[in-house]
């Protein structure tokens, strides 16, 4: 592994000051499952993605850890491990969608050390991006190898230039729960709803979110869902045990007394360069009986999808999974 300088800030302000001082060649590290064990060990680098010269270790900042649930919602520190999220009874009670999504991440061994912030901000798993031989757009190169190559796991929606899919399960769930990210930077703190947090390749192919090089995600806030909100999570993997999603679906919605869709969100993971909010499907369901309309509504995913040479099967999978997940949430 390339050597690097290590900085161990004791609070967020110190962490930001360090990032400002060193510049873009410094990266923050949470659990390191992706940055150390993935990117740095595999030498994933390019013109637009130099390997870091310095790591700023957030595990030395105790304030970034912890789960607090009150009337308004849940606040989760970015350095809270996925295991801590899975085991939290408070989260399970009101935010079961996040509990389930976090539980579906990797294996217990990785959840024990991997953090929420790290899971949301991890880099994509595209095998060309991860392969040292491929100098692709995402690394600052000038080609996307998935267009003519094996693209069976690539994007079916929103791919342009680069056809990665967003790898995070918790991000998909958090978007469905209308959560917000709190970000600390040299210009102070800002709060960004996950609706505006993720960006596609057209906006900036070198990153997957709006987080700047001198900013740190400090916590995630999830507003308390309206009473009676139904939540469901499903994730299709190639193998029963740990893997990234081929397609995942997070749904959180309310219905009125006669079973009509009142309000809610349907978000898909594994299909687009960002967690994909299927507003088409939501709009189709609005005011209609969910049970009777879901089949037709789920089919609207086909109008948004532009599959590549080897991944048209993902359109069928996504359609079916939306249908099943929402029917499952109805119970």
């Amino acid at each position: 592994m390339k050597n690097f300088e290590l900085y161990e800030p004791s609070n967020v302000r110190e962490a930001v000051a360090t990032l400002v001082k060193i510049g873009p060649k410094a990266k923050v590290i949470g659990g390191g499952s992706d940055l150390v064990a993935g990117v740095m060990k595999d030498w994933v680098q390019g013109n637009g993605m130099p390997l870091p010269d310095a790591l700023v270790d957030l595990s030395t900042i105790p304030q970034l850890k912890g789960i607090k649930v009150d009337k308004t919602g849940a606040t989760i520190g970015a350095m809270t491990t996925l295991t801590e999220i899975v085991e939290s009874k408070d989260l399970q009670k009101q935010f079961s969608l996040l509990t389930q999504a976090a539980h579906s991440v990797a294996s217990p061994l990785i959840r024990n050390f991997g953090t929420l912030g790290g899971n949301i901000n991890q880099r994509p798993r595209c095998w060309f991006y991860r392969g040292a031989e491929f100098n692709c757009y995402k690394k600052g190169g000038d080609f996307c190898y998935s267009v003519g190559g094996d693209n069976r796991y690539h994007a079916i929606i929103g791919g342009e230039l680069c056809y990665i899919v967003h790898p995070s399960d918790t991000a998909t769930a958090l978007l469905a729960l209308n959560a917000q990210a709190k970000i600390a930077g040299p210009r102070g703190d800002r709060t960004v709803p996950f609706d505006q947090y993720f960006i596609g390749p057209r906006e900036d192919v070198l990153r997957e979110n709006i987080l700047k090089a001198d900013e740190v995600m400090t916590e995630v806030f999830i507003p308390t869902p309206a009473p009676g909100t139904k939540q469901a999570w499903s994730k299709l993997k190639n193998r029963q045990v740990y893997d990234f999603a081929i397609v995942s679906v997070a749904a959180a919605f309310t219905t009125d007394a006669s079973g009509n869709w009142a309000d809610g969100r349907v978000v898909l993971g594994g299909v687009a360069p960002v967690p994909y909010r299927a507003t088409n499907i939501e709009n189709q369901l609005k005011g209609k009986n969910v049970k009777n309309s879901i089949k037709q509504a789920a089919a609207t995913i086909r109008t948004a999808a532009r599959p590549m040479s080897m991944n048209a099967y993902k359109v069928d999978v996504a359609q079916t999974m939306v249908e099943r997940t929402i029917l499952g949430a109805l119970g």
Partner: protein, 185 residues
């Protein structure tokens, strides 16, 4: 630039100076020469390098040694006491839970993590809990039997403790402040 670290390994405080890029597994094997923890894939897939970091099972090829500073680490060598196998090791011994043995140190540590949280796991639960550990001999049936056997032994010893469901806990960093490098250069 090397960093001073103090890590308690199997109950013994060890002080060393390490490069920040040194992985915990290499620290254990190459610096401390405690070689029971195996290196398999070195990319966080196989779980052969599983150790306990502050009582929780993690893949030591995914953790920097400096991230374990101030923490306590238990490796497979820390399980037996006075030459007597512990319950999980005994369970693997009795149920033939190993063939070539390469994955065994990691599986023993994962099994401990499971049994601490869930003293009476179903076969399904065991399979889920060890899904981060690969056995290339594919001896999973006997591994599951071994963990069930171990669970039985542990429950027999502490029937009261077995009923207790452990509350979720937040692991707070135990790293020592005085050893930290100032954050700003």
């Amino acid at each position: 630039m090397k960093f001073p670290v103090e890590i308690t390994v199997n109950g013994v405080k060890r002080r060393s100076e390490v490069e920040p890029r040194l992985l915990l597994v290499h620290y254990l094997r190459d610096v401390l020469e405690i070689t029971g923890t195996h290196v398999g894939c070195e990319t966080g897939i196989c779980g052969a390098c599983t150790v306990h970091l502050d009582d929780e099972a993690v893949k030591s090829c995914m953790v920097l040694a400096v991230q374990a500073d101030g923490c306590s680490v238990t490796t497979v060598e820390g399980l037996a006491s006075d030459g007597t196998l512990d319950d999980v090791q005994q369970g693997f011994w009795e149920e033939h839970g190993l063939q070539c043995g390469y994955c065994t140190p990691g599986l023993l540590m994962s099994a401990h993590d499971l049994l601490r949280k869930s003293p009476n796991p179903s076969a399904e639960e065991i399979r889920r809990a060890i899904n981060g550990n690969l056995c290339r001999c594919t001896g999973y049936q006997t591994i599951v039997h071994s963990i069930q056997n171990a669970a039985q032994k542990m429950r027999a010893k502490k029937p009261a403790a077995a009923k207790q469901v452990q509350p979720a806990k937040l692991r707070t960093s135990k790293r020592k402040r005085e050893q930290r490098r100032p954050a700003t250069v």
